[in-house]
Amino acid sequence: MTSHRLPNRGRVDHARPVRFSFDGRSYQGLAGDTLASALLANGVHLMGRSFKYHRPRGVVSAGSDEPNALMGTSRGPRRFEPNTRATIQELRDGLEATSQNRWPSLAFDFGAINDRLGSLFSAGFYYKTFMWPRAFWDRVYEPVIRKAAGLGVSPSEPDADRYASRFAHVEVLVVGAGPAGLAAALAAGRCGASVMLVDETAEPGGSLLSEPSVTIDGRPAWDWLAAILAELAALPNVTIMPRTTAIGYYHQNLIGLAQRLTDHLAAPPEGAPRERLWRVRAGQVVLAQGALEKPLVFDGNDRPGVMLAGAAQTYLNRYSVKIGDRPAIVTTHDSAWFAAFDLAEAGVKPAAIVDLRASVDPALAARARALGIEVLPGHTVTGTSGRLRVQSLRVNRIENGKVGAAREIACDAVLMCGGWTPSLHLFSHTRGSLTWDGELKAFLPGEKTEAVQIAGAGRGLWGIAAALDDGASAGAAAARVAGHDATAQGHAVTVDRTGSGITCKELPTDRDPARAKAFIDFQNDVTAKDIRLAVREGMRSIEHVKRYTTNGMATDQGKMSNLNGLMIAADALGQEAPQVGLTTFRPPYTPTSFGTLAGYHQAATFEVTRKTPIDPWAQAQGAVFEPVALWRRAWYFPKPGEDRHAAVNRECRAVRTAVGIFDASTLGKIEVVGPDAVTFLERMYTNPWAKLGIGRCRYGLLLGEDGFIRDDGVIGRLSEGRFHVTTTTGGAARVLNMMEDYLQTEWPELKVWLTSTTEQWAVIALQGPNARKLLAPFVEGLDVSEAAFPHMSVAECTVAGLPARLFRVSFTGELGFEINVPARHGRALWEKLMAAGQPYGITPYGTEAMHVLRAEKGYIIVGQDTDGTLTPDDAGLSWAIGKAKPDFVGKRSLARPDMVAKGRKQLVGLLTDDPKTVLEEGAQIVADPHQPKPMTMLGHVTSAYWSEALGRSIAMAVIADGRARDGETLHIPMPDRAIPVRVVRSTVFYDPEGARLSLREETP
């Protein structure tokens, strides 16, 4: 089984076998393998099926640009990942990999019928085939397309892994640890600059790992590499991060890095994060990402066994795997010749080197012949054969621009090279301009927008010596900008393999090009003729060609296909490549897991959960919680056997008949202090404040400058220049921001100070006829009788020995108090009140009961009964406007024509004909449920509850001209029926006189 592995070479550990499985079959690889190299070592070339035609596919590359060898990998339940690139996934003991996009098996797949039906699936087939009949969309086309679409299978369970994130600041960030990146890191690191060197692969070295025959500074490449890595590792100012992909280049040199931490480990440490997202702010960035090899475009260039020549060289030299015994080489660039030489010297017998160029370097040709390789310059490839593995190559001589007779060359692999594309993805993220190099037929970095250096093959330089020198210069330049005294040291290189090549569109053929399956984008099954068809059908912009054909839209994001697609599109358009232009590169550079991007924001740490001081008590009581803004609030307190409705009804009864206790600590609280505090409130809130007495409270209504309701709350005056302002739970930060905005920028002359005190106070509401009887014995320094401390009073006093601010307020319509004590004492006071309240029937109630009780009284909740389009008049709150005030925020807008026009939606009450029917909040309201669709909607239900006190359902709604419809019957269409409702002008359903607010019971 291991006959494809050559002994005693490469960077794999021949003494450490690693077991893994692929499609249920067990295999053995070596430590240091990737999944792809281990499969190749076992003679497995068939690794996947293509997206559209389900064609059998083998591995094409040895890097992150791999379009074909995508697999599902798993390390057990909730740890499955689709579309893992076998070329990146390091082999680990017990790794389970499965092939994708095939049924029932990889070797025999029914979906391959699509390949025979190729003419139905031409470019833009989505737009053509699924046009009509329209009725087919929902039932036929969409389900079928959805089922067929996508590679791999999304995990269906929550990810069991943890993910981390971190910030870093460095002077020089070097992306890519090939020769250019290493030299840059060395030049910058040696002079003391703080350097981070990242590489997406497991091992730094880049092309050096595939070119062991080069010597640098008198040492073999791998010895030099080891020495350099040791030196860098010893420098305290240098960090080397392998398995770390720079995924995005953002403003002002902020780079996103995705670091893979445990996917390569057979047994990850317990709790270790799987991946980590870094946000690195770098003074200077050195991009040393190298160049990507281009495939050649010819009929049958996608059969398993056809791969990039550079990849074959990497598999040989780095992983000690021969990709075949008799490979044929097809190239337009010198680099593939060296791959052939390395294979020949390793004992493989290359069948032939086919070069599109009529004349090649005589030294290369001579060396090939000396190695026994047939040399075919001026030839083209016009086809391949073989079902699950390539078996032969069809080769034709090109003479005077004409394709001559064909001959077959038997082979078990085809190594292709169409030249190299500088990797400019990250540079393009910065919106740096690209310039076309007509000689190299490549885009190179042009004008920069960031503090960045591009070094080596990434700017079109070829060869190890050039990369090292360029990297050293870039690293030194970056360090100098950072204020270090840096000079670039040169590196002496021998046996460098420089070379050149040409760039082709699809290869010339003697056959009908319309029948050729010459692939450009392997994963998305885009062929040369698809591009030409798109141009024929009117696509002119490369962005349109891309979207019409899906070229470059696969998971490799066009790393392999962009340039070939562009060359062919340019040819079809009769334009030069730079006129046609490139599509836009966007982050991320390679596919990035959602886990990495989410980081710590999952499960309990998805977002901040604010808890009140009384929250632990509620939890211990078995309360059910609900999120309110960032707060976690007790929703209701079920007793054994109670469902939500039973619990809420019991809590409501207790408040109406005895006494309820409620944790109101989440209320927003702002302390407004200063000699101009009252002036400030006069200008901010609609209500008049000047005459509010010390020790008195008033309901405050806050508008936006546009006149719409923004927030409300009770405001108490503690002294001449000190107000205790409360806001809605969710609105606290917004209100403070709005107040600060006006104070700082419109009225900076006012002497007012604003302090958020939300978390300084624990707030306990006692509501119900027994509230005063329970509270009074705890209060010192204040007479809380009805006469001395009436409704809407506030005072500072002592409650249970604690300094307190006591409010006589009610959000239930009952006699009520809200006791503010320093937060740390909240729970102790709560427990004392609970104990003392037992004889009075004290009952803790949650937010649901609070909502019901306030709705019975018609008290609005801003954000539920209002939605940012309601004026005070719309909400029935005109009484809260200080009519005599010359100005307040939003006042002028209330006089705008639209704000006083007829037909505005107004808040009213709704009563269902059937008292047992509780409406759905958000339900739409119509006058006639039998009118044709789309119906004219008059408004919607904002609040709807079962009222235990009234023994029937109640609701509030906003309805066009609602108050004028008092007594009218309207309808609420639901999926199964229409519910008739009666409009009532008043939203106060319970105790409309407010008698219960000022209950004068016997004071004990």
């Binding site: 953002y250 002002q252 702010r281 921001n737 100005d887 002028r892 807008s893 006089a895 705008r896 024509p897």
Partner: protein, 100 residues
Amino acid sequence: MLLIRCPYCEQDLPELEFAYAGEAHIARPQDPSSVSDEEWRDFLFIRSNPRGVHVERWRHVNGCARFFNAARETVSDRFLATYKAGEPRPDIASLSGEAR
């Protein structure tokens, strides 16, 4: 994520610390009741939204909490200047010259 210079803290700090607050130098009329509906509409809703230099308000909300003004090039998303609330608008022509 942008780096923004707070003119009060006099430091370049990450965008995470700041909140955007709309176009700058739009003063609330001294006496709103005296302005016409059209003038009030313009004050409320009409903004310049330029392609180029935009003067805008920011708040260092997770820092000193002060509101300040900034001139930002909307094409490159570069800050050309930040300055304290109440200070005059900088000379846009000279700033955009620097930007190029």
